[in-house]
Amino acid sequence: MPSLRQGGQAGLALALALALPLALAAGWEMAVDTGAASGRLLPPPSRIGATLWELAASGDLLVHVEATLIRVGLGFLFGAAAGILMGTAVAMLPLVRRICDPSLQALRAVPSLAWVPLFILWFGILETPKILLIAVGVFFPVYVGVSGAIASVDRKLVEVGRIYRLSRGAMARRILLPAILPATLVGLRTGLGLGFLFVVAAELMGASEGLGYLLVDGQQLGKPDQILAAIIAFALAGKLADTLFVVLTRPLTRWQDTVRESL
C-alpha cells in the first residue's frame, strides 16, 4: 500500500523534525527543575506554557492577536492592491514603466524599517503609520511579481488568442489573467509573510495592544516568559495565515506542473 507507506514516511519525517526542539525543551525543563539553571532569563517550557494559558484564559491573548491580525490584514489589503495596480500599469504602459519603475526600484532598495522614524513624524504613533508600514512591506514583492509576470506572458499563447479574435477583455480574462496568476500568488504569499515581519516593527513603535505590544511590555517589565509566549503566538498566527493562503489558492493553480506542497 503506497499511501500507507507514504503516510508512514511523512510521520517519520515529522518525528525527526520535532526530535531536536522537543529534546532541547525537555533538557532545559530538567535543568531548571533540578536547579542546574535558574531559568530567570530563559524560562522553562512549562512556565511559557502557563503564561500562554493565562493570557488565553483572561481573554488578553485574543485581544492582542486580533489587533495584530487586523493590522496585517489591512496592510496586506492596501499593499497588495497598490502592488497589483502599479505592477499592471508598469507592465502594460511603457511610458508609466519608464517614469515609475526606476524610482520604485530605488525605493525597494531602502530597508523598509528605515521609514519608521519618518512615518512616526508624519502620522504619529496611532494606526495609520503601522498599517502604512505593513503595506509598504507587502507592496514590493507583489509589485515585482505582477509586473514580472505580465512582462513574461508567452507571446505565443497571446497569438492563439489573436487567431480566435478575442476582444481585449476576453484576451485579459482568458489568457493574460490565468497566465500571470501563479507568479502573482507567489508575490502575494511573500507579501503576506513580510506583512507579519513588519507588523512587529510597527507595533514596536508604540502600541497599547497587539502581539508586538506584548513583546515590548515583556521587555520593560522583565517578563521573558511573556516575550516567548508572544513569539510563539506570532509563529502560530503567521504559519496559520500562510497555510490558509496556500489552501485557499491551491485550486487556482491545480494545472501547474510544480506542486506547491512544501508549505
Binding site: 505565443k156 499563447l157 492563439v160 487567431i163 494545472w255 506542473d257
Partner: protein
C-alpha cells in the same frame, strides 16, 4: 478559395523576406509549401493568417480581403500552444463562441474522438505526450470548421511513427469538411503524403519556384513506385531551386549558330 496576390514583406531593417508571392488554392485542395529554413515559409503563412501585415499585395479568402485573423482561417502552429490552465477538452473548444453547453460538448467530444483522445478530455495538457498535444491543437483548429487551414511545420518535432499516425488523422479530419489546407514543411515525404500540389520556395527574398502536382489517390502507399516517383520529382525540383541553371555557354549551340 484562397488567393495570394503579389504578396511582399520587407522588414523595418530593409530585409526583404518575401517578394511577389502569387498563389491560389482551390476549395478543398491541399498544398504543401516546401523549402529550406529561412526561405520565408513561416512568414508567408503568418501573413495569410493575418498575424503579420504584408508590405504589399493582398490575401483573399472567398473574395474577402484578409488583414487580421479571420473566422474562416484556422491555424496549427509548430508547437501545440495549448493553454496549460484549460483541460484538454476546453482547449479543443477554445475557438467556439456562443454555443449552448450541450452543443459545445458534442462538438468537442466529436473532435476528441476523431483524434483518438476521447478518454483524455478531462486531463491537463501537461499530462499528454508531444504527439497527443499536437493532436489536441489540430482538433482545436478543426472544431470551428474553418474554410482554410494553415499548418506551420506541425509535425516537425515528432518522431516518424507519431508523424505517420498524425498524417492519417489529419487526412481523416480533412475528408469530413474538406477545408483548403496550406501546410508548410521541410519534409518531402510529408509533402507527397498529404498534398495535391507541392510548391517549392526559394530564399532571399522568399519567392515561389516550381510547382509539382501529386496525382495519387488517397490513402497513399509510401512504398509504391508511383509514390517514390513523386518523391523523386519533388527532390529534383528542390535541387533545381538550390542550384538554379545559370546561362551556360553551350559550345554545340554556338557551332550551330555559326554554321547558320
Amino acid at each position: 478559395m484562397l488567393t495570394v496576390d503579389a504578396l511582399s514583406k520587407t522588414y523595418a531593417d530593409g530585409t526583404q523576406a518575401l517578394s511577389g508571392i502569387g498563389l491560389s488554392v482551390a476549395p478543398g485542395e491541399i498544398v504543401a509549401l516546401i523549402g529550406g529554413s529561412g526561405c520565408g515559409k513561416t512568414t508567408l503563412l503568418r501573413l495569410i493568417a493575418g498575424l503579420d501585415r504584408a508590405s504589399d499585395g493582398t490575401v483573399t479568402v472567398d473574395g474577402e480581403t484578409v488583414r487580421e485573423p479571420h473566422p474562416r482561417i484556422g491555424v496549427v502552429f509548430q508547437e501545440p500552444r495549448l493553454l496549460p490552465w484549460l483541460s484538454v477538452a476546453d482547449n479543443v473548444g477554445f475557438g467556439l463562441a456562443g454555443l449552448a453547453r450541450s452543443e459545445y460538448r458534442a462538438r468537442v467530444g466529436r473532435a476528441l474522438e476523431r483524434v483518438g483522445l476521447a478518454e483524455h478530455g478531462g486531463r491537463w495538457p501537461r499530462e499528454l505526450s508531444g504527439g497527443q498535444q499536437q493532436r489536441v491543437a489540430i482538433a482545436r483548429a478543426f472544431v470551428p470548421q474553418p474554410r482554410v487551414l494553415l499548418l506551420d511545420e506541425p509535425f516537425s518535432a515528432l518522431d516518424a511513427f507519431t508523424r505517420r499516425g498524425l498524417h492519417a488523422q489529419l487526412l481523416d479530419l480533412w475528408a469530413e469538411s474538406k477545408p483548403t489546407i496550406l501546410i508548410v514543411t521541410h519534409d518531402v515525404g510529408e509533402a507527397v503524403t498529404l498534398a495535391d500540389r507541392v510548391v517549392v520556395m526559394r530564399p532571399r527574398p522568399g519567392r515561389l519556384d516550381e510547382t509539382v502536382a501529386i496525382r495519387l489517390p488517397r490513402p497513399r502507399d509510401p512504398v509504391s513506385a508511383r509514390y517514390e516517383e513523386a518523391v523523386r520529382r519533388v527532390m529534383a525540383a528542390l535541387d533545381r531551386s538550390l542550384h538554379p541553371p545559370v546561362a551556360r555557354r553551350d559550345p554545340a549551340a554556338e557551332v550551330r549558330a555559326g554554321w547558320w
